[in-house]
Symmetry: C2
Subunit: 228 residues, 2 copies
């Protein structure tokens, strides 16, 4: 599948590297490919610079948001939540029309420091904002409630843990669920919460996720459910 | 321990019945004990009327909010979130001063139907509102992220699942943790998230909890964590 990943950070890199290894045709979209490609400063959390990462993943192409999204069958929004609507606008509504847009971003607002609040919550969500801005796109929310290492390697954690998804288009959700299975998620681990309004709950879990990660001292965990 | 439980609904009944069975001296607080005691209509979810429930639990006393809280060592807020500040005010600031107030309520707003939104979220929480309104009370948030059947019988679900707690007073959290252990929670299942600001995340998990319960068709589940 031709996949465009919008966002050059750790999440974008992780998904791009894994999806490329799985045989997909992956292009990372960014505002200015020359600037991104030349970026040699390490990432925020001591991760490799984009150019170092890219040197290890030469088959992943780097392009403008629009050039990445144009030929793509599926677009993944892996930008920071505050930048998502701008990045998708730069990708171009005509390049999103009729396509699956997998939104893995979280609307985290760090303007008042850590822990962040959400810039949208409760009666709305980032995923719904994206859907309203691009009504002919088929927005599916998933993968936002875990660290990127878990997204692409669920077997790295023991036991049964979950990846939620929601969206208004059943076929788009099936496409995303198939992609999740390729990433290693068992069918039973993929929890369809229903319509895109469920993205509110999926995004609102982030403050608890952050509190837990602070207490555990690791991001290497994921939510699970105990049930009878 | 002398325990006052504010709230006569399913949550208050469940906690009262179980804590009384554990040997505690339990009084349920309500606005008008005569009206509550005479209530013979079944509960919202087909549960027994208060008078039927009370007939089966004669050692649990029923009193006004203030009369229940006055002699209590520990007060549990099990009212509906929208009624909590009013109920605690009726209990009287002087009756809460210096005491542990265990807040198990959720600020669910059903005014726009189902699913509810939260009346406070993101940059504040019901638990923090209560703490600000009663600054000398020792507010601890816990048990809000599960059904009342799970609160009082964690062994009813398989596997390792969690009860979160948070609060600004370490001794008060120890008191609550000891009570949770009495209810059947293993020490390892009690997850201290830190200060009371973590109540934001604990309350914001409710929309996801509701989505999951709708999809599962049961409230008999609880959150767990998979970690390395």
């Amino acid at each position: 599948m031709k996949i465009a990943i919008l966002g050059t950070g750790l999440v974008g890199q992780s998904l791009a590297g894994r999806l490329e290894a799985l045989g997909h045709d992956v292009t990372i979209g960014t505002r200015d490919p020359e600037v991104t490609g030349a970026r040699s400063t390490p990432g925020q959390w001591g991760t490799p610079s984009f150019s170092d990462w890219h040197a290890g993943h030469p088959r992943v192409r780097l392009a403008t948001f629009a050039a990445a999204a144009g030929p793509a069958d599926l677009i993944i929004n892996a930008t920071a939540g505050g930048a998502s609507l701008g990045a998708l606008s730069a990708a171009g509504a005509e390049n999103l029309a009729g396509k699956v847009v997998l939104d893995v971003a979280n609307p985290l607002d760090f303007s008042r420091g850590f822990p962040p609040s959400l810039s949208v919550a409760n009666t709305d969500s980032l995923a719904e904002q994206i859907q309203r801005a691009f009504p002919t796109a088929k927005v599916v929310k998933s993968l936002n409630s875990m660290n990127c290492t878990v997204m692409v390697n669920p077997a790295g954690l023991p036991g049964e843990h979950l990846v939620f998804l929601c969206g208004d288009d059943a076929a788009a959700k099936q496409t995303v669920a198939a992609l999740l299975e390729e990433l290693g998620w068992a069918q039973a681990a993929i929890f369809d919460l229903g319509e895109l309004t469920a993205a509110r709950g999926m995004e609102m879990i982030l403050p608890l996720w952050l509190s837990i990660s602070q207490k555990l001292g690791t991001y290497e965990f994921n939510f699970a459910i105990a049930r009878r």
